[in-house]
């Protein structure tokens, strides 16, 4: 079905991002907004808005029935869910299918499969991809037995979890029972699924993920990898491609593993296969698959020249893959800094408020994906992402220096941001060398309690 009108069930920068591609493709956009998002940049850019409920996500952006009703009511042929919110909910894909609305994303069974972290692990193992040693535990006794077998420290993960939520690190056998109890309660409350599994904690690991695109019948291409090792409490804040200082053969195996996994489940649409690269063993393990467009997708677009959102539309309306693997030739490097409204002086607590002044950088090789302008409000109900500054260039030193200059030129007042933290990361010799592990940023924060340059309005 040719998509002429799409309902965008999201907000913020990704809504702006999707609208931009829709304009190019001549697709009419209807933006679903909550009450507090009526007067935002994406609301003004969309051809039409439709108010789906009050500010709280549970009353608006997370309401599956309302979103589908809105699509039907405005005559949209498709729903683009963006990332977060309902993007990976099998129930939405199912309800769309039932009502003849195209869900721009994987099928409901695929979402159910990769959303169940254990089922996804099994699917990966079935295609010969290594997973971190571990498994499901139903009781404290089972957990203790498994912990003895795989060794401490271990990570407790929620089967229904993702995005770093519901994770607990356990260092000693004595701390296991209490951590399990807490994790089960949290997972039950957050995901409606209190099942837990354990994994060996890889101390020196890198987070490297592969962007894939599948046509839904088994044809899959990849668009290279992204290194997202710079994380704070499992939240990515800076991503780059290609992964620096990575063995060429390992890189090739990562790409192949991602393509095999996606092909084995006839994956449809854009997705990301995340791996943990064990730096000491030179091995890699499957972590999880994200069945959506990701926050950090622009770095892959920068080096490949592909518009991933446009490809999502193409697959959704049955055009299949428009590029063969040989035609996808990444060039140069790209880096993304996530600019969040959070206060480094208060342990990176979200910093809602009104942006009283903003000037984003521009220039050769710089792309800014944002919904924030002077006067924009940062409501307390949603995530704190203000913008993504993406820089592309022929090589990594050029990209780093362009990004440093871009950050220095960024002016933002009214809410606290993490801009100074990015500047510090970009100066760190370990980061400049490349190939840091996921523990890198915690170390930077621990050893540098210098006065953070916070901009207040």
């Amino acid at each position: 079905v040719k998509i002429r009108r799409v309902l965008i069930a999201n907000r913020g920068e990704i809504a702006v991002r999707i609208i931009r591609t829709c304009r190019r493709l001549n697709v009419e956009t209807v933006l679903a907004v909550s009450e507090v998002d009526r007067d935002t940049l994406p609301a003004r850019l969309a051809d039409r808005t439709v108010c789906i409920g009050p500010a709280r996500p549970i009353d608006s952006y997370l309401r599956i029935d309302t979103v589908v009703q809105a699509a039907l009511g405005v005559g949209a042929q498709a729903i683009h869910p963006g990332y977060g919110f309902l993007s990976e909910r099998a129930a939405l894909a199912q309800l769309c299918e039932h009502h003849g609305v195209t869900f721009i994303g994987p099928t409901a069974p695929q979402l159910a499969l990769v959303g169940d972290k254990l089922a996804a692990r099994e699917a990966a193992e079935a295609t010969g991809i290594a997973v971190v040693p571990g498994g499901l535990v139903a009781s404290v006794a089972e957990a203790q037995a498994l912990a003895r077998r795989i060794g401490l420290p271990i990570l407790i993960k929620a089967v229904g979890g993702g995005g770093g939520r519901g994770l607990k690190l356990v260092q000693t056998a004595a701390g296991l029972a209490a951590a399990l109890e807490l994790a089960a309660a949290e997972a039950g409350a957050a995901f409606g699924d209190s099942r837990l599994y354990l994994e060996r904690f890889v101390a020196r690991g890198r987070h490297v993920e592969v962007q894939v695109l599948g046509d839904g019948t088994g044809a899959v291409v990849h668009m290279g990898e992204r290194d997202c090792s710079v994380q704070r409490r499992y939240q990515k804040i800076l991503e780059e491609t290609p992964a620096p200082q990575l063995d060429a053969y390992l890189r090739q195996r990562l790409h192949q593993a991602a393509v095999h996994l996606a092909a084995s489940i006839n994956y449809r649409g854009a997705g990301t296969v995340e791996f943990l690269v064990d730096m000491e063993r030179g091995e890699f393990y499957f972590l999880e698959m994200n069945a959506r467009i990701q926050v950090e997708h622009p770095v892959s677009e920068m080096v490949t020249g592909i518009d991933l959102v446009a490809e999502q539309f193409a697959v959704a309306q049955g055009e299949g893959l428009r590029l063969a693997q040989e035609q996808i030739q990444p060039r140069g490097c790209a880096l993304e800094c996530r600019i969040n409204a959070e206060d480094p002086a208060r342990d990176f607590q979200p910093s809602p408020g009104t942006v009283t002044h903003v000037a984003w950088p521009a220039g050769e090789g710089i792309r800014v994906d944002t919904h924030v302008e002077t006067g924009s409000k940062v409501p307390p109900f949603y995530d704190s992402l203000l913008a993504k500054i993406i820089v592309g260039g022929p090589d990594r030193p050029t990209v780093l220096s362009t990004m440093r200059a871009a950050l220095a030129r960024t002016e933002l007042a009214g809410v606290a941001t993490n801009i100074a933290l990015h500047a510090r990361i970009l100066e760190d010799p370990r980061f400049v060398h490349g190939g840091v592990d996921t523990g890198f940023l915690a170390g930077v924060l621990e050893h540098a309690h210098t006065n953070p340059k916070v901009t207040h309005g």
Partner: protein, 155 residues
């Protein structure tokens, strides 16, 4: 510049001494609505009696200001509590729940909003007379969209 408790007391006295039932004041972003007790109420959560002590009055009047914003002139607008398809009658061909001129109580059903085959009744929320129906049968209504106008008070 903000209004002090004393200012509000002063303004309240002005209203008391006047022949008007209601006073609206907008000053540098602050909206103040005072209504004489006995004047037709705007909605269920309506004005505190003007006899209240000044600081309390200031607080409750600000609330009234917010309620007043939901009104268009003297009418109370009944808005959609959720997005969906609005139906004026319990089933196709049946008599509409209300017509222009119908008297409604707070709990009178004025229509149905369907979301994915789930029917949600919408109540007037105010007693009065329906003066205008703003949405046609079967139309998509957004959250917060005005459905009809009610002239508050006894018919």
């Amino acid at each position: 510049v903000t209004l002090t408790a004393r200012d509000v007391a002063e303004i309240t006295r002005l209203l008391e001494d006047s022949q008007f039932a209601e006073l609206h004041l907008e000053h540098e972003g602050l909206k103040l609505t005072l209504r004489r007790s006995g004047a037709p109420p705007a909605a269920a959560t309506h004005a505190a009696p003007v006899a209240e002590s000044a600081p309390q009055a200031a607080a409750s009047e600000r609330r009234t200001g917010a309620t007043a914003l939901a009104q268009s002139g003297a009418w109370h607008e009944v808005s959609a509590p959720l997005l969906g398809t609005f139906y004026r009658a319990p089933k196709p061909g049946a008599e509409p729940y209300v017509e222009t001129g119908s008297a409604v109580q707070e709990d009178t059903i004025i229509g149905i909003i369907e979301v994915m085959k789930l029917m949600n009744t919408v109540r007037a929320g105010v007693a009065g007379t329906v003066v205008e129906i703003l949405v046609s049968d079967g139309a998509l209504v957004e959250y917060g969209q005005a459905l009809l106008r009610v002239s508050p008070g006894a018919p």
